[in-house]
């Protein structure tokens, strides 16, 4: 697992209160990890803070799974 992936997963475990083993690349925030719409917004904000990036709303809407988040951040983090 890349360093970015492990940091992303740690945030998800903390914010959504889920087990690390559940946080697979394919896991959907809303369907698999129990996130509601507010949780999802908060997660995006936490990623922005952790990686000092800004994720525009139209991009944020496309981030539905753990893998989506990791790929976006790997492509956009400085």
């Amino acid at each position: 697992m890349s360093e970015i992936a492990s940091r992303v997963k740690a945030i998800i475990v903390d914010k959504l209160g889920v087990e690390e083993s559940e946080v697979t690349n394919e896991a959907s925030f809303t369907n698999d990890l129990g996130a509601d719409s507010l949780d999802t917004v908060e997660l995006i904000m936490e990623f922005e803070k952790e990686f000092s990036i800004s994720i525009p709303d139209d991009q944020a809407e496309k981030i539905a799974t753990v893998g989506d988040a990791v790929s976006y951040i790997e492509a956009n983090a400085k």
Binding site: K15, G17, L38, E42, M45, E48, K49, S54
Partner: protein, 421 residues
Amino acid sequence: MELKRVVVTGLGALTPVGNTYPEFWENILKGVSGAGPITHFDASKFKTQFACEVKGFNATDFLDRKEVRKMDLYTQFAIVCAKEAIEDCGMDLEKEDLNRIGVIYGVGIGGIHTFEEEVINYALTRETVGPKFNPFFIPKMIADIAAGQISIMYGFHGPNFTTTSACASSSNAIADAFNYIRLGKANAIVAGGAEAAIFEAGVGGFNAMHALSTRNDDAQHASRPFSASRDGFIMGEGAGCLILEELEHAKARGAKIYAELAGVGASADAYHLTASHPEGLGAKLVMQNALEDAGMKPEDIDYINVHGTSTPVGDVSEVKAIKDVFGDNAYKLNISSTKSMTGHLLGAAGAVEAIASILAVKNDIVPPTINHEEGDNDENIDYNLNFTFNKAQKRTVRAALSNTFGFGGHNACVIVKKFVE
């Protein structure tokens, strides 16, 4: 239309002197002070460095960590306390019509700690990341969310809202719950109050108003209502919760009944933002309103749990009002301020003090006003009245009246009496 009778069938208290209602009751009878140095933040540069905090509270002992993170401390207090009261009332919720169970929870301020943290964070980051707020900022901070959270947890679909009238908030919650039930609009209501404002903005804000005691070197003796050397109130935090239930509903399920809710009153001083009316006009009116609502006379009351916050002006005007309303009977009843022990729980004060009043009625014993020293007498206070100084007093308590007055001039009063068929 005949009004229904309303009884108290469950209690919960989460206070600076006990995290359950039996512990709270035991400690206020013993005269235990809940005051100590502030631990929620570094208060060393504040004028007031002590308060009555709740001790040893971990919301995660009761609730899921993920949920706790989305709740301000005041909501955590509200929920844990409501849980105690709901379990205490022994209702089998699977057999109940949940559309007829409501939640009315008073809050004076709301999530001030959440507000403070989020605004500080915004101020620090707005230049670099722009205007970003946490999505839980508003739903954590708003004053109604405790009532909402309790309904979500239990599936109660009845009337659901908060009452806000500063330090009278949860007396207003009890009054509203009483009205819904006696009008036949609900079978039971989880009525209470919660507050968690011992944070920088809360302490700093009240300090700026010169409302708080600054007796930093003697915190445990700082809350001294009706003593000449009193110098302001001591902030408290926590929650109180009562299960109010329609009498026939309670009897049908064989519920234990602590007391009957006899009457409620509400009034306004219409005088000043923060100072109480010097002649106690609003206080007098609210007690008269409550007596009239209860169909009772001054001689029917054996105990007054006063607002009595230990402020120079407020204590004097409340005593004047009591003498005006009760006349000669004022000298026969007991008066006490349990805030001498718990501090001032602001929006939770009405609920916690209603519980003290209910337990006084049930057990025939009046909790004391602690911290009065011999001779520390204020020339504006009549010490022929029985302030129950320093020691609990056993006596028959047929009925008790609980006063709460809030900044803004809001007054609310609740009368409870022994339940007799």
